[in-house]
């Protein structure tokens, strides 16, 4: 009897606690995938990490606290920023490297430059122009920490840059059409005898090119899946992981054998890979709206996390606890902000064992159209309010460069242009009617003479969104190099945009879409030829020395480094 009473009492106690706890459990189970951040929300706390994000068409690098995801500031650099890379003594570590906290290098696809941001000052210290013709897409740090390697997506060339002097070496990667894209160098990972190569995807060749670093030359092309995009070196030095965008696979290249080791099916539209320090890789899948996790020791996919919508780039925190999805659209999330829609960053908890593992912790709207982002521990940036300046942070004259951002362009909005695409002579003006759509331009080639008055009218002729298409997208139109600041048109449906300028620099300058419009956005290209007295322009004929002077950026003498005068046949002989 006593036992029965005791039992009843125990059950009563259990029942009472269940009554207290169960609603919470049920509520947690009812949550959807988007877990709201709990308090403190806007408390003035200091986060352990800082993310530096290349903001694409806003020409700035955003500095964002991790994990609170508060945006601190924007550092103005140029026109269309793509890949940020921290300075480091070597290229070891994850995609964030092991930063020394001194500089951030960031490339500008429209201006064809590399900006050098002083991380301690938080401002642009140097601007290095890359030679013309080149058309940079992405950069990666060399193993010595003193060189940058760059892919010339718009010309089919590769480049090696000496950061200190701005001297560069350019090599061709043919045959045309050739589009070198993302690139990386394998790690030594503690093995001093390990040979290091530069690997770069080429989406027109559907291969990964392998380059000797010294002397700088192409030695091999390895066939991979269709249209390789992210081509990334994992920290332990074993593999290069390639995201095959159109075949929905991930290809692993064995670095020692320079051959394909394994191919795994991924979510549709794999784009970029990042790595933690525990042997895991995270791959963004644009069409599948997910992040795929791969165990690099087993070469097996072990998890998949849903993200809000249309992930592009991806970043991982150096403490391995968070993955940040850099999403290209924000459908239904935020208030409209004008023609340019807000894009967003989505913070995922990837710490195994965490109560919110695999969940979205926070989504924030961000400026521009974010491209890649890298994260460092915040203690690397000194606190200037604590007397650090007097302790030698600035020991010599340190310039701050402020480029004239998109100044002087003559842009007009017009009712939707319904004239046929093509070039017509109107008095002394060459009038070019361009139709832009997913994924191309008509006409695909535009040829004018040096000195011509040029009027370009671009019309977005995409139709309403369908099931497989993106939301109502903007079509971009940028002529890279000397015409970048005078074009860069963001064209919504329903109107046309017109730009007028004098074609004052001869040469072949590629046209590209600077506003993300879907999976084949990168392939949306055309060419602008300005023929000078030397004859029809091509990559060998043009005012490329003049183009490398970057007059449109409005810099003062001495503020620009590098350029065509600094191109050398072999950078290793310096």
């Amino acid at each position: 009897m006593k036992a029965a009473k005791r039992c009843s009492f125990v059950f009563a106690v259990i029942g009472f606690f269940a009554w207290l706890v169960l609603p919470g459990i049920v509520a947690a189970a009812d949550r959807d995938w988007h877990v709201e951040e709990t308090s403190p929300n806007d408390a003035p706390l200091q986060d352990p990490m800082l993310m530096y994000n290349a903001g694409g068409t806003d020409g700035s690098v955003a500095v964002i606290d991790i994990p609170s995801m508060r945006t601190y500031r924007h550092i103005l650099v140029g026109v269309d920023l793509h890949e940020p890379v921290f300075s480091a003594p070597t290229n070891e570590g994850t995609k964030n490297l092991i930063p020394d906290g001194k500089y951030l290098y960031v490339d500008d696809k429209a201006a064809n430059t590399v900006g050098v941001i002083n991380l301690q000052l938080g401002s642009l210290e140097r601007l290095i122009t890359l030679p013309f013709p080149f058309g940079v897409h992405h950069i990666t740090l060399g193993p010595d920490g003193k060189t940058l390697y760059a892919s010339g997506e718009l010309t089919g060339k590769m480049l090696k840059l000496d950061i200190a002097t701005g001297k560069s070496q350019v090599i061709d990667w043919g045959p045309a059409p050739s589009a070198p894209d993302y690139l990386d160098i394998n790690k030594k990972a503690g093995n001093p005898n390990k040979k290091q190569y530069l690997f770069s995807g080429n989406y027109y060749h559907s291969t990964v090119g392998v380059f000797e670093l010294n002397p700088f030359k192409l030695i091999k092309e390895i066939p991979v899946g269709k249209n390789p995009h992210g081509t990334d070196a994992e920290p332990k030095g074993r593999y290069i992981q390639v995201a095959d965008k159109l075949s929905a696979t991930i290809t692993f290249i064995d670095v020692d054998k320079l051959a394909v080791k394994k191919v795994l099916p991924a979510g549709a539209g794999p784009l970029h890979n990042v790595f933690d320090n525990k042997g895991n890789a995270y791959t963004s899948c644009f069409v599948a709206d997910s992040v795929v996790k791969t165990d690099l020791n087993k070469l097996e996919i072990v998890d998949e996390y849903p993200i809000h919508y249309r992930i592009g780039h991806i970043a991982v925190s150096p403490d391995d606890n968070y993955v940040i999805a850099l999403n290209k659209f924000s459908t239904g999330l935020f208030s409209p902000t004008g023609i340019r829609w807000p894009v967003n960053h989505e913070l995922l908890d990837v710490k195994v064992g965490s109560p919110t593992y695999g969940k979205t912790l926070k989504i924030i709207p961000v400026d521009g159209e974010p491209h890649n982002a890298k994260i460092l521990f915040a203690h690397l940036i000194k606190d200037w309010t604590m007397g650090q300046a007097e302790k030698g942070l600035v020991t010599s004259a340190t310039p701050e460069i402020r480029p004239v951002h998109l100044g002087g362009a003559k842009i007009s909005y017009l009712p939707m242009d319904t004239q046929k695409p093509g070039i017509v002579q109107k008095g002394d003006v060459k009038e070019i009617h361009v139709k832009a759509f997913s994924y191309g331009y008509v006409p695909r080639q535009i040829r004018v003479n040096k000195g011509d008055k040029v009027r370009i009218i671009v019309t977005n002729i995409d139709k309403a969104s369908g099931i497989t298409k993106n939301p109502d997208v903007i079509m971009g139109f940028t002529i890279y190099g000397p015409y970048a600041t005078r074009t860069m048109l963001h064209v919504p449906r329903g109107v046309s945009l017109m730009t007028e300028f004098v074609a004052d620099t001869a040469g072949e300058y590629e046209i590209y879409c600077e506003t993300f419009c879907g999976p084949l956005h990168l392939e949306m290209r055309a060419a602008f030829f300005v023929d000078g007295p030397k004859g029809q322009s091509d990559f060998a004929t043009g005012d490329y020395d003049e183009a490398a002077e970057q007059k449109q950026l409005g810099l003062q003498p001495g503020q620009l480094e590098g350029g065509n005068k600094e191109v050398v046949p072999n950078l290793n002989q310096l």
Binding site: P336, G338, P415, T418, D472, E500
Partner: protein, 163 residues
Amino acid sequence: MKKITVLAILVISFTIGFLTSGCGKSSQPAESPEEVVKKFYAYVKEGGPTTLGEAYKLCSTKRYKLHEDRFMDIVSKYSKDMKVNVINSQIMKDRAVVKIECRVPSGFGGDYVQESDVNLDLDEKTNTWKIDFTGETQAQSKEEPGPAATKGEKSSSKKMEAK
């Protein structure tokens, strides 16, 4: 008897004739396509949220519904110096095309003059013409003719400026 029959026939004929002519009149929208386009660009030129809201109401949602805020952001970017003249129009049953001439200041001096076609849909619910602002009915090729490529059943040639 005969008189009654004749009278009945006359009354019925008159009634049918009256109703038929009444139906015919009510099938014509109160505002012509030219007037709608002229009003649209007058609203756009005037600007301001209320007026642009009125311009938005003149847009068709038959094939695509552009978000109102996005529409306002787009049309507010038009130059205040832009002048739009209506040149002519064609009506083809439930669709119409209005040819307009648009003038904006050119960076090379003088004006840039653009001629373009504005397509309109007949909104059967309200019996009004609505502008296809996003160009869903614009022809992209010879295989896909839009109203501009079709011979019109009714056309007029006028020149009106949206002041």
